[in-house]
Every structure is written in structure tokens, then in C-alpha cells.
Symmetry: C2
Subunit: 435 residues, 2 copies
């Protein structure tokens, strides 16, 4: 590596602006740590004339981001455009194809095209840095790919979406304060505060968390990225009632990405989960993210920190640049592409765990017996049952938790319950994750 | 780097045994991740004939560990002997002096000789890996030196000693269960369980945590290691009463290593602290460790995991070996030795924070007024006061918490309180750390 690392920056939104600001503010520090100057030499963004926090007048400007990939003065392209396809993909391919390192914050891109981009990087002996793509400022990619490299992992799970965690935290605060608010109300507030997008679906439907989980899975299990295998459920259906019952049972409701290896294969899922109050991850609130891994030698480790925002994301992007400046070139997913081993995906329903079930029933003798029979018929055993108050012949919520069972059996039991005359709404199920 | 990394292992105790076991068990995985074979070619330990978990009969044996440094077949020496001086120091110097990388789990060695060893490593363009020296299996050295390298830090703090954290957790459990146990009782149990050494002083007096803190300070602030500047207080004087009051006030008592930069200089201290229940670190219990850092761009990040034991420590040692196998050579403390800048140490008493004070007083009108006057005279303002029950003219504990004040002023106030006739024991103070 020469005495300067020449960066081409594509995208000058919140993150791109943060990167410019960080580079300007920490110039001597970064030079001292990386042993070379990190210099942005060219930029590309949608509107050149727009007012920006950083002065870009001295930098080479490209209207077309793809031109960065062809600029011989650039060592590394920093892709901060976003989107799974289109310019982001073309630029990434062209940059690696032209012998430039790539740093990206784009989880959608890597979830869909990570395997082919990793191969391009490897063919050119280039580094593909994506620390900013997962869990924002938390250095979890480095933690897994290098820090815990001596371990074989049985699982990884995490709170990977700050928007969902913020909404669930607010809903819980409402319940605790005695003024429960439903999902839509809290979502609207989150949008007003800038914690949720105008179109929140990528976040609240779990897709963003699933993108990140697919990358973690690949790193942890040494398999190609398989985003299509992630089973995804968002948080729109979470009701303040569930949160109140969770409190009472000693749990917190969190949207978790979970990836586990079992005899049935690899299970990747993003689901709302009940986690025990005593678990570290239960206390990760608001827009924070956390990732927990289980390694055979190290045991359980937890990394927690800000999952989004200009500062944390810029911190992650620039850590990748510092790595490149220091000469580090690592296999994208921890091992050479040719050594990634595809593993079967665990069939739906093969998940084994315990469950929380909420039913709206008619308060009438025999109802609980009928429900219990549905579970017994599938050999699912009940751990606890809660019904508050008595309102004969009216609708009341009933909550059950089960012992460990196959999700398939549970689904059949829920189906049978749904058929009962005394069960008024589709039964709700939330997985219990006993960390 | 060739296709194998040849390791000379000094010390075959718990950690050395763990390293051999891990290398044997994860052979294909490590080769796949590091791109080369990690091979122990020679060992040295106290007794050759001793029964060991791992078979060492095929390995070259040296009675004198120093001979590892002279063996031309060795690329990296793994120092797992321990001790701040003696063989560990001589071996480390000789290994680096002879062009071999060094990996060590030895915090005492680095706390005392880290600066000169870092220079030796740098002179030889060698890597000095010490992930296992701080917080066991948690990859915190990598996290700070690489993952968060884009940040300027205002502070780092952590639970750095599992023995102390175990004892404090047990004492709290006792208080909560209504059967408080004092320090000595819990220490004895910890010794029986193998969580504390026969001579526990290095742990319970805070020295081990201070060794680790001195290394974190250097990494975070880019200054030479200055172990002598760490102010150290252990946990022997922590009383179940303090733990009960902490619960009541919404705090947990933890032994924290804290390093902060202020106008007065760098403050390094290991102290029992009260941390708010809502802080992530408050829930790090038992033998776990955790490290929290505050970076200007990333914000607050927390790394948590097992702080000791054969498996976690071996995981850390071998992550350093994988780094070396991958060709990584980094400045030991994040920047070149010549760029480490010594910074003044904050004078004792310059700490600014809030405090918990426990007094044993005679229950008599006017006592609280006298105590309050001592604080007022030093311009320390009281935040809360607790006295349970009334026992006229008998001894009762009284607890106060203060608003933010200089420790020097507080010490003067405590001195004045100690002079009061109605105050029966030396007043006890615990810092409140508002994370």
C-alpha cells in the first residue's frame, strides 16, 4: 500500500455525508492509525448543486457513479447508494472487476448478490468491506470473521433493526405506564421522529433484518448467502396485550433474527420473539442493535451498540477503509468462495422450541379444556396458562405457554383451536427464545 | 506467509491445554479460515512427564522455554507462562528479538513491559497479539484497534475481572434471597468452586483488572502503557448493606475499570462502583466480563462475554494466530510506538461524579443536620438520604447520595464526618457511574 488510499465515494446522503465529515474531522488520527492518508478524490451523487454539510467543491465530480469504477486514480470505491440492484450493483461489479476494493453499507445488495461479488473480490485479490451493512456501528463482521475465527458456531441471533426495536420498546413503555398504544400509533410517532421511513415496510415487515441475518449466517456457518431461505415475519401484528402478558410472564418482545444449525439443516428466521427478562438482549432498547453468537470454545458473546445513523455507519465504513489502508484482504465470508459449503435449509415447521399462544375466547366452562385438548392431540404440553378476570359469555384473552415442541405440531394445534366455536380470532403465536 | 504457521508454545497449564485442544479439534476449520495450517512444532512447560489432556509426544520438547526463541523452525511464540517478569519477559523479548511473532495472554507482563515489547515488535515488523490478555474470549482488542479505529474515544470502562464479578453477583443474590452473606464467606465458596485462587489478592484487590485497564487505556487514547497511574481499590470492604442499599436506590455494585480523558488529564481507576440498573453493564453477572467504549462517531458500544477459562482464552489466543497466519501485522497499541503520546495523569481527587456514602451513626436528633453540614461546607449537594427504622441512641446505617462533585471535596467532607462524635465508623464511599 502506498502512503495514501484514494477513495471514490458514491452517494452523498446521510451516510455519505457522515463519511466525509468523519474523514475531515479525524484526519491526523486516521493517518496515525492506518499509516496512510485516507483521501476522497472523487464523488458521485444525484444532485451536484445541492447544499451539503461537507464542501465537495475540490473533489472530482461524476454525474454517473459508474465512472468511479473506471477512474485510474481510485483505489477503493465506497458504495453508499443503496438498493439491491441497479446502479449499486453495476458499480460494485465494475469496481471489483477493475481491481478496486469495495466498501459498502448495502445489505440488500449483499443479501442478493453477495456470492457473486465475493467471487469477484477474490478473483482480484481485493477486499469487500461491509461492516456498515450489519448492525451499524457495531464491529460484528470483524468480530465474527476475525475475533472469533477460532470457533465453530451453533447459532447467531440479534436485534438487527432499530426501527422495530424502537417501536417495541415504545409499546412496552406505554403498557408499563398504563397507557398502551397500538402498533400504528407508535409507528406514526416513529415516523415523525425520523426513526421510521415514510414507507416503513422494509423495516417493520422484517426484510431489512433478514438481509442482515443472511450475511451473518454465511459468515458464521461458512455457507453461501441464501436470503431466499430466511423465513420472515414482521411486527405489525404485535398487540399491546402481548406485551402486557410478556411482562407478566417475565419476557420482553423483540424482533430477532435467528440462525441456527441443527440436524434438519440451517434455520434462518426473522420473527418477533419472547426473550427472558434476564437475558442481556432483553435490555437492548430503543434504536440499539445487538448480536449474540454461540461459539464452541468462546461460549456466548454479545455485541451491542447503535445500529444506524450517520455517525455509527460512517464509523463502520471507515473501519473498513482503515483495514484496506493497513493492507488487509480477507475472504468476504470468512473462507474462500470455493470453500463455502451450501447446507440444506431446515424445512418449515422443523423449528423446536417453546411458544406463547394468545387466544380470544368466549368465557365459558369447558373452553380451556377444549384448547388444552387441541395441544394434547399434537403432543404439545402446556407450561402455563393465564386468564385475567371473569366475564361469563363474553370475549376474554387467554394466554398459554408451551414446553418444547416442533413448530409443525404447534401449527396443527393452532389450526384445530381456530376451528373451535368458542375461539373468536385467529390464534396468535410468538416463539419463546430461551437464551 | 507460507502454507503453515509454526508455533512454539510455552506453558501447558489450563490455557495452554485449551490451545492444544482447540487446534486439534478445529484443524480443517482453521485451515479454511486462515488459508494455512496452524501447527504447534515445539512446547515447553514445567514437567514433561505430567499427564495432559493433549498428546504432546510428537512435539519437540524444551526444558527451557527460552530455547523456543532460538528455534529456527518457529514462526511465532505463544507465551502462556504468566508473570510480569522472569521467564515470560525473557522469552517474549528473545522471541521478538529473533524475528518471531509473539502471542500472549499475559496482562501483567504487558502492563509492566508493554511499551518496550511493542517497540521490539515494531522494530522487527512483527505482530504482538494480546487478545487473550484482556477480557478473555471477548475480541475487544480487535474491536478497539480495528473495528472502532475511526473514532476518537472519550472513555472506556468495563467489568474486567470475573472473580470479583462473581463474588459481587453472589453477594447480591444473597441479599435478594433474604440471606445476606459477607465478602469472606462468598470468597471462600468461590475458591471451592475454582472461581477464585488460593491467594485471591491479585483478583479481589483489583490488580488484575488494573493490568487490563492499563492496556485498554493505551489503545483507546494512543498513549504509552502507564500501569503505575491506575488508582486501584478492590472489593474486600464491600458490605451486604451496600448491596442492599444499591438495590433500593436502583443501582448494582460492580468492580469497574474506568479510563476517561478530561481537561485534567487521563484518569485510570479500578473501583467498586454503583451503576444504574438500566445500564447494560448492570446485567453482566457471574464470571462474565464486559467492556464499554464511548467513541465520538459510533457512540456507546458494549462487548460482553466470558472473561476467563480454557475455552474462551484459547479462542482469543488462536484468533491472534489466525491474524498472523493471514499476514496481519498491526501496531501493538493502535499507532506506531513513536506516535504514542504520553498524557498527564489526572491528579487524585480531580474525579468529578456523584457518590454513594454509607455511615454508621447514633440515631439521635441533629445527626443528619451535622452530616449535611459537612457536605454543605464543601459545596457538595445531597441528592437523596435513606435511614431505615428508628432506634433512638443506637447505631443505625444512613446512606446518602450526592449530586456531581469533585472527589477531593467529597473526601474533605467525609473526613469531617469521621470527626463527628455521632459517626461511629469510617464513612464508606462508592462512586456512582451514570452510564
Amino acid at each position: 500500500m502506498s502512503d495514501s488510499l484514494r477513495i471514490g465515494l458514491a452517494g452523498l446522503g446521510v451516510v455519505g455525508g457522515g463519511v466525509l465529515k468523519l474523514l475531515a474531522q479525524q484526519r491526523p488520527l486516521l493517518q496515525s492509525r492506518s499509516g496512510c492518508r485516507l483521501e476522497v478524490v472523487a464523488v458521485s451523487a444525484r444532485e451536484r448543486g445541492r447544499d451539503r454539510a461537507a464542501d465537495i467543491s475540490s473533489l472530482k465530480w461524476y454525474d454517473n457513479a459508474l465512472d468511479l469504477a473506471g477512474d485510474g486514480d481510485i483505489d477503493v470505491v465506497c458504495e453508499l447508494i443503496g438498493g439491491a440492484d441497479g446502479v449499486a450493483l453495476e458499480l460494485s461489479q465494475a469496481a471489483l472487476g477493475n481491481g478496486k476494493h469495495l466498501v459498502t453499507a448495502n445489505k440488500a445488495l449483499l443479501a442478493h448478490h453477495g456470492n457473486s461479488l465475493a467471487r469477484l473480490a477474490e478473483d482480484g485479490a481485493l477486499n469487500l468491506g461491509y461492516e456498515a451493512a450489519v448492525a451499524g456501528g457495531i464491529p460484528i463482521i470483524k468480530g465474527l470473521r476475525e475475533g472469533l475465527a477460532a470457533n465453530s458456531f451453533s447459532g447467531v441471533y440479534g436485534i438487527l433493526n432499530g426501527t422495530c426495536n424502537y417501536i417495541l420498546t415504545e409499546m412496552r413503555d406505554g403498557v408499563r405506564a398504563g397507557s398502551p398504544r397500538d402498533f400504528d400509533t407508535v409507528l406514526k410517532e416513529a415516523q415523525e421522529l425520523g426513526y421510521a421511513e415514510a414507507d416503513p415496510s422494509t423495516d417493520v415487515d422484517g426484510v431489512d433484518a433478514a438481509h442482515k441475518l443472511a450475511l451473518l449466517t454465511s459468515l458464521v456457518f461458512g455457507c453461501p448467502v441464501d436470503f431466499a431461505a430466511v423465513r420472515i415475519e414482521g411486527i405489525r401484528h404485535i398487540n399491546p396485550l402481548d406485551i402486557r402478558f410478556a411482562e407478566e410472564l417475565g419476557y420482553r418482545v423483540k424482533l430477532l433474527g435467528v440462525s441456527r444449525a441443527s440436524a434438519a439443516g440451517i434455520e434462518q428466521s426473522v420473527h418477533p420473539c419472547m426473550v427472558p427478562e434476564r437475558a442481556a438482549i432483553a435490555h437492548v432498547d430503543g434504536v440499539l442493535n445487538a448480536v449474540v453468537t454461540e461459539g464452541d470454545f468462546v461460549g456466548t458473546t454479545t455485541f451491542e451498540g447503535p445500529g444506524a445513523g450517520a455517525g455509527p455507519t460512517a464509523s463502520a465504513v471507515i473501519s473498513d477503509l482503515v483495514d484496506i489502508a493497513r493492507g488487509l484482504v480477507l475472504p468476504t465470508f470468512g473462507v474462500a468462495v470455493s470453500e463455502l459449503v451450501a447446507r440444506p435449509s431446515a424445512p418449515p415447521g422443523s423449528h423446536v422450541g417453546s411458544y406463547y399462544i394468545r387466544l380470544m375466547v368466549v368465557d365459558r366452562p369447558g373452553v380451556i379444556a377444549d384448547i388444552a385438548a387441541c395441544l394434547r392431540d399434537q403432543e404439545v404440553s402446556v407450561e402455563s396458562m393465564l386468564q385475567h378476570g371473569r366475564r361469563p359469555d363474553e370475549a376474554v384473552p387467554v394466554v398459554l405457554t408451551t414446553h418444547v415442541a416442533e413448530e409443525e405440531a404447534l401449527a396443527r394445534a393452532l389450526g384445530a383451536m381456530g376451528e373451535l366455536n368458542t375461539v373468536l380470532e385467529t390464534p396468535r403465536m410468538i416463539r419463546i427464545v430461551n437464551l
